[in-house]
Amino acid sequence: MDERIVILGAGTGGTLTANRLRRARSDVEITVVDQDDDHIYQPGLLFIPFGLAHTEDLVRSRPRQLHPGIVYHRCAVDRVDIDHDRVHLIDGTELDYDVLVIATGATLQPEETEGLTGPGWRQGVHTFYDLPGATALHTALEAFDGGRLVVNVVDMPIKCPVAPLEFCFLADWYFRERGIRERVRLTYATPLDGAFTKPVASHALAGLLAEKGIELVTEFNTGEVDGAAGRLTSFDERVLDFDLAVVVPLHGGARYVGDSPGLGDALNFVPTDPHTLQSGARPNIFAIGDAASIPTSKAGSVTHFEGDVLVTNIIRFLNGQPLDATFDGHTNCFIESGFGKALLIDFNYDTEPLPGHFPGPVGLPLLKQSRLNHLGKLMFAWLYWHALLPGRDLPGVAADMPHAGKHVPETVGT
């Protein structure tokens, strides 16, 4: 009998894993499960509030991104029985597996922050991290003609840690384009002790915030949102008043993970070996993408770079061979900075974002604003649907983070 691989989640990770596996092995049965049929290009959500992208551009059919010969179930997962190698779907279907891949990503949990979904939600308090939110925020921004706009990350981890910064940069551009920038006070409030988690990038991004007149409030852990009064209050009693709040809610893993004893952690993410992508739950369970708890960002680029190692290891596991422990935590993110420019950061578990060029001494500028990076970000959407999802490597871009082209600075300012 063919070995059965079950992949939970038909987003970025689930799709590229299924497609890579299908091409690598014709003698395994691959089943992919998702609760809805809408594959959303998530990097596009950032642009919807500013009218730079529209819903139709960002959504495609999930099953249509899968290669032929892959079974697809459209149903929510109820729970995973890790002791019996069985997935239970909510319609009663049972899927037995030889190998399970958790690729169900991260979910937004706005209800976990007091008051966030109370009065003012979708009116004065918004998020752009899902389609309904980004769309409602577009309406709110069009009507906004002055006052204090606060962008706040409630706590880490979140998907795409740079997106809230990009929102600030684009907001600065947007209001300048509308000729009302001097009527708007922009504030970025973060639980981190800097603009970013790594020193060199934190310094560069803080500089950019200052240059654009965006106030940076650090170590702000939001405890309560009062949408009616327009106020964010931190756990240590600091207050930020706002006229419009753009909040990135708390994130957790998929709900069924919490209903599957032994599978996930306190936040419903799956503890995962950072180099092999094997889960800590059972040897025949792997995790990829935002669903995995590993010490790097939750970002599509990470998911793509993981795909190579993951599929190698699934095959090795099936063959009874030792796993390849080579995933290096490679992350690569464009940071849209407005005015047709963007920065690019490239890093891994051991190396923080550094200046230079990517993928080699000649290439896209790192940690520097450039129009080339902005074009790269725009073109990336095409590569996502036509190269990344079908499970192909990107031209000129290897899975491992390149050291060539990076400059290690002598000193870092504070």
Partner: protein, 105 residues
Amino acid sequence: MPTATYADAVVAVNDEGFFTEPDEWTPDMAAEIARQVGIDELTDRHWQVITFMRKEYTEKGTGPTVRVLGKTSGVSIKELYQLFPKGPAKLAAKIAGIPKPRGCI
């Protein structure tokens, strides 16, 4: 590598004062570190958190974030901020002699 002296012993710390060698910590040091960061007295509730922090570090290789502490330590986030004002995850980690929590990237 900078050092600090607690309970008459010299320990290795990073430039923010977090222990780099958790094995060098003894419970006697906790009160001294706490006083340095502005906490005059360590109650049983403080100790519940400190013990939990060291256990998490041993099991997971890093101290927990405030959110995980609130969910799994038995002490609510509100109370954590009362016990360890301003930055409970970082403060408790310092007092518990473990490295600064890796947090998230």
